[in-house]
């Protein structure tokens, strides 16, 4: 089963778990419906769109409403630990959540015993928590941007806000320096998909592919373009694509979706994720 774990920004929403669907611009899980914007909602919507186009089973979405105080994030970590054993997970994508070191440690401790055949993808708060806990190597793929790459490269930082100034100030063209530094300090998984003006696919600390076409500079400003990338990537892995290949394909698909939307920096992410089916056709992943 393809499972996604992440919070949604609604104060009153309790824990929900069920098959996610995305129809007519609306994401649904159980009785809850919303229009995706920045964050996990975009990731899940993009995963749904990709799964549907590739005739894959839709993702199982475990979520809870959290507006930043972290209370329901804690419930979500606990729920996952209590229920992972019964979910028959093959791909687990973890996303926006309050970075909680004990919570992430509990999930990864549980999976360490049972995770054979499970691919773990972490982005956003889940990525921060895994790195802060010193457990990045237990994840299969992180999807950081340049700012987050500086965080992974700083062995002392437990959040991107506390990164050494020198690392943050490095020019975007120096991302490879950050990748090497992060890998040397043991704060990366085996594979990284570093998103930015140039996307880097990294395996065991070595850049194995760079993707810079189509080049749509406005995408950097549009909230959710990294979330859509993680959603597409996770769905492709669930669809059986090898991890590095899935990273390369996901980066291309996300860029093509951006190109097709003809965005400027004020464009909403919803216009871009609408183009994912056409982008999948353009890379010939579906008819």
């Amino acid at each position: 089963m393809f499972t996604i774990m992440g919070t949604l920004p609604f104060d009153e929403m309790g824990l929900k778990a069920g098959k996610a669907t995305f129809e007519g611009g609306s994401l649904k899980v159980e009785d809850f419906e919303l229009t995706p914007s920045l964050g996990t909602s975009v990731m899940v919507a993009s995963a749904c769109i990709t799964c549907e186009a590739l005739n894959l089973e839709l993702p199982y979405f475990v979520t809870a409403g959290d507006i930043g105080d972290g209370k329901r994030s804690k419930e979500l970590y606990s729920y996952m630990v209590a229920n992972l054993g019964t979910l028959d997970v093959t791909v687990l994508a973890m996303h926006y959540i309050m970075p909680d070191i004990p919570g992430m440690r509990d999930i990864l401790d549980f999976l360490r015993e049972t995770r054979e055949g499970v691919t773990l993808v972490a982005d956003a708060g889940a990525m921060y928590a895994a790195k802060a806990a010193g457990l990045a190597q237990e994840i299969d793929i992180f999807t950081p941007d340049a700012g987050e790459m500086a965080y992974l490269a700083d062995p002392k930082a437990t959040h991107p806000a506390y990164v050494e100034h020198l690392l943050f100030e490095l020019d975007a063209s120096k991302v490879v320096t950050l990748i090497k530094k992060a890998y040397e300090s043991g704060n990366t998984p085996k594979i990284l998909l570093v998103k930015g003006p140039v996307d880097y696919v990294v395996e065991e600390g070595e850049v194995v592919e760079t993707i810079n076409e189509p080049s749509i500079s406005a995408m950097e400003a549009i909230g959710g373009t990294g979330d859509s990338l993680t959603g597409i990537l996770s769905a492709l892995i669930y669809g059986g694509y090898e991890k590095v290949d899935a990273c390369i394909k996901a980066a291309r698909i996300n860029r093509i979706a951006g190109k097709l939307a003809q965005p400027d920096p004020s464009t909403s992410i919803s216009h871009i994720i609408d183009k994912i089916p056409d982008a999948l056709k353009e890379v010939r992943l579906c008819a």
Binding site: T7, L8, P9, S37, L38, G39, T40, S41, D66, I67, G68, D69, G70, K71, S73, Y96, I97, M98, P99, D100, I101, D123, A124, G125, A126, M127, Y128, A132, A133, G134, D145, G147, E148, Y151, K156, A157, T158, H159, P160, A161, Y162, V163, E164, H165, F168, E169, S217, A218, E220, A221, I222, G223, G224, T225, G226, D264, P265, S266, T267
Partner: protein, 191 residues
């Protein structure tokens, strides 16, 4: 002094445990303030405890409050609203390190994107509206995005007032830089 000794005894054995990953320390002026802060933060559901601060950062009282660093924005705001002004807040993983206070800007012509750590805010310089927010990983970022995007940057409640996390803390820094740029653009237009 006796009260102080009791406090030391109570919190002393935990001293070593204070150096956990991802924790921050609030340094206050007096023991009584530290105790008030601990009580207040606990009442609002924060996972905190009183600890002895490491000697190299001891500035005021020798009781400090340990908290989850990621909660920094919400914690600072709650203390401030209750009249408790920390002398300092430090990350236990790196005592000399402070949150990033620098920003980067990227000019898209009509639009300006400001980056602070992992957070980006993009404004329409002509209309003064926030058109996109990107990055982050804490749950308040999507929440703040809903209330900020599409609105004039001079009219919205700043993210520091509604956020809780370090991501919101950095969004506030990016917001302040974008706000000052928009204001100076507007001033230039009028003059």
């Amino acid at each position: 002094m006796r009260i102080l000794d009791r406090i030391k005894q109570r919190f002393g054995p935990r001293k070593k445990e204070a150096f956990e990953k991802g924790k921050g320390l609030i340094i206050l002026n007096e023991v009584s303030e530290a105790m008030q802060a601990e009580k207040l933060l606990k009442r609002f559901g924060y996972g905190v405890r009183g600890v002895a601060p490491p000697p190299e950062i001891r500035k005021g009282c020798d009781l400090a409050v340990e908290f989850n660093l990621v909660d920094q924005l919400g914690v600072e705001r709650l203390l401030r609203r209750n009249g408790l002004m920390p002398l300092d807040i430090v990350a236990l993983d790196n005592l000399s390190q402070k949150p990033l206070d620098i920003t980067k800007e990227k000019d898209f012509g009509r639009y300006l994107m400001v980056t602070a750590a992992n957070m980006k805010i993009t404004v329409d310089k002509e209309k003064g509206t926030i058109v996109n927010i990107s990055g982050g990983g804490c749950p308040d970022v999507p929440y703040l995005t809903v209330s900020l995007v599409g609105n004039r940057i001079t009219e919205v409640k700043n993210p520091g007032e509604n956020g809780y996390s370090l991501c919101a803390y950095m969004l506030e820094k990016a917001y302040q830089k974008a706000l000052s740029t928009v204001k100076s653009e507007q001033t230039r237009e009028y003059t």
